[in-house]
Amino acid sequence: MLELKHVTKKYGEKTVLQKLSHAFPASGTVLLCGPSGAGKTTLLRLIAGLEAPDEGTVQSTYQRTAIAFQEPRLLPWLTCLDNIKLVLASRTDADEQARLWLSHMELTEVANALPSALSGGMKQRLSLARALTFGGDLLLLDEPFTGLDDDLKRRIAPRIRESNPNGLTLMVTHKPEDAALLNATVLQLSGSPVHSLI
């Protein structure tokens, strides 16, 4: 269960979210759409617990949260493989799992390369692979399709869909048409003075 109750978030004088309330479905994929600056990333950060709302509450019963940030946030001194293995702690199948997800993201060939050798889209996929390998019942993806062409998006989307069958996947995007690829529900973040998800 993930429920927002009258959530307000301000940065200085600027109000990014105003009294937003919404109850998300327990499982499935939800696309959060809206214009730039609408507060999509802020909402994701509030849900992840990276920031606290100024007013209202974010209630979540999910046990494990994984995030693919808007910026890939990779460690430049570790190879692609090690960037993924890093978040798998001391799991015995860390290497196997990391290689599997690299192959799902079509990054096998660059497994031993440093992130500096990757293109923007490849970095984004590596960040996505890291989040999906880490796993969790709440998966938060902030524009994971940035820099990917339509063919690649089509090939990767099923992996995202299948990665969290019993939990909730929330994905921030500018493109509502991505919903078809992910069998997702689209929620539009909008509103003034009070924000809503429709």
């Binding site: 990276l50 994984a66 995030i67 910026e71 946030r73 190879t79 890093l86 978040v87 702690a89």
Partner: protein, 256 residues
């Protein structure tokens, strides 16, 4: 190798040859070897000194003293940087002391230390006092310039403090440590030799340089100076190589 690369690599050598040429021309024009010997005569003198045991004993003794001071500064400076970053009160307590180390003229510190301790130990303490503020300031800056986005990522993926230290904090700190080593070693070595010249500990390069100056053995004085320069350059190159190797080993370890 491309022509441009070849040229880039040759530039420092050409520049060195140019300045040796300038020195040579001035020495020839001056015709006063007691004031300015030619590079050739200095080189011959250096070679003749280099085959004596006393020379290498002096080099070894001076290096040991100064290296000891620098290593001590690296240890204490790193520890201080960690402590003063964590505990603000300690920062306020140590900051004036370290500013004092930075601003006090080296010669004053040398004379003051001579009053309190044996002259043999002064170069060690001078090297340490020169290197300490540099190491402390650089490492503290590295500790303060943390990448908050990476730390946030580490928090999200529940990385243990040990993993955060080894995989995020330490690699971020490496360039600052490298910069600290390179700046501190060169300056501390020069200051250590200056301290030797003023304190005259037996069997040190500084003492030998002082004797050369006293008896107007200019060629010898130049030869010792050249040896100090060469040792300084060698130390810098070795440090750089060691730091690069350590970094590589760490990367290989991560890849394994």
């Amino acid at each position: 190798m491309k022509k441009q690369d070849l040229f880039r690599k040759a530039v420092p050598l050409i520049s060195l040859i140019f300045w040796i040429g300038v020195w040579w021309v001035i020495a020839l024009c001056l015709r006063k070897p007691l004031l300015l010997p030619t590079p050739w005569r200095v080189l011959c003198k250096l070679l003749s000194l280099a085959i004596t045991a006393d020379f290498w004993l002096a080099v070894g003794t001076s290096l040991l003293r100064v290296a000891g001071g620098i290593l001590t500064a690296l240890l204490i400076g790193t520890l201080l940087a960690f402590l003063t970053t964590r505990i603000k009160l300690l920062h306020h307590l140590f900051a004036p002391l370290l500013s004092l180390c930075k601003t006090t003229p080296v010669a004053s510190v040398i004379f003051l230390l001579m009053l309190f301790m044996g002259r043999k130990n002064v170069p060690f303490f001078i090297a340490a006092s020169i290197a300490l503020p540099i190491v402390w300031a650089n490492i503290r800056e590295g500790l303060l310039c943390v990448d908050t986005q990476l730390l946030e990522m580490a928090h999200v993926f529940s990385l243990t403090p040990k993993r955060i230290f080894w995989h995020i904090r330490l690699p971020l700190l490496c360039p600052y440590f490298k910069a600290a080593c390179l700046s501190a070693i060169g300056l501390a070595f020069k200051a250590g030799i200056a301290a030797e010249i003023l304190c005259l500990p037996e069997g040190s390069i500084g003492a030998l340089m002082y004797e050369s100056k006293l008896y107007l053995l200019t060629e010898e004085l130049f030869a010792y100076t050249l040896s100090v320069v060469l040792i300084g350059v060698a130390i810098e190159k070795i440090t750089l190589w060691l730091l690069t190797q350590t970094k590589r080993e760490k990367e290989d370890g991560c890849h394994a």
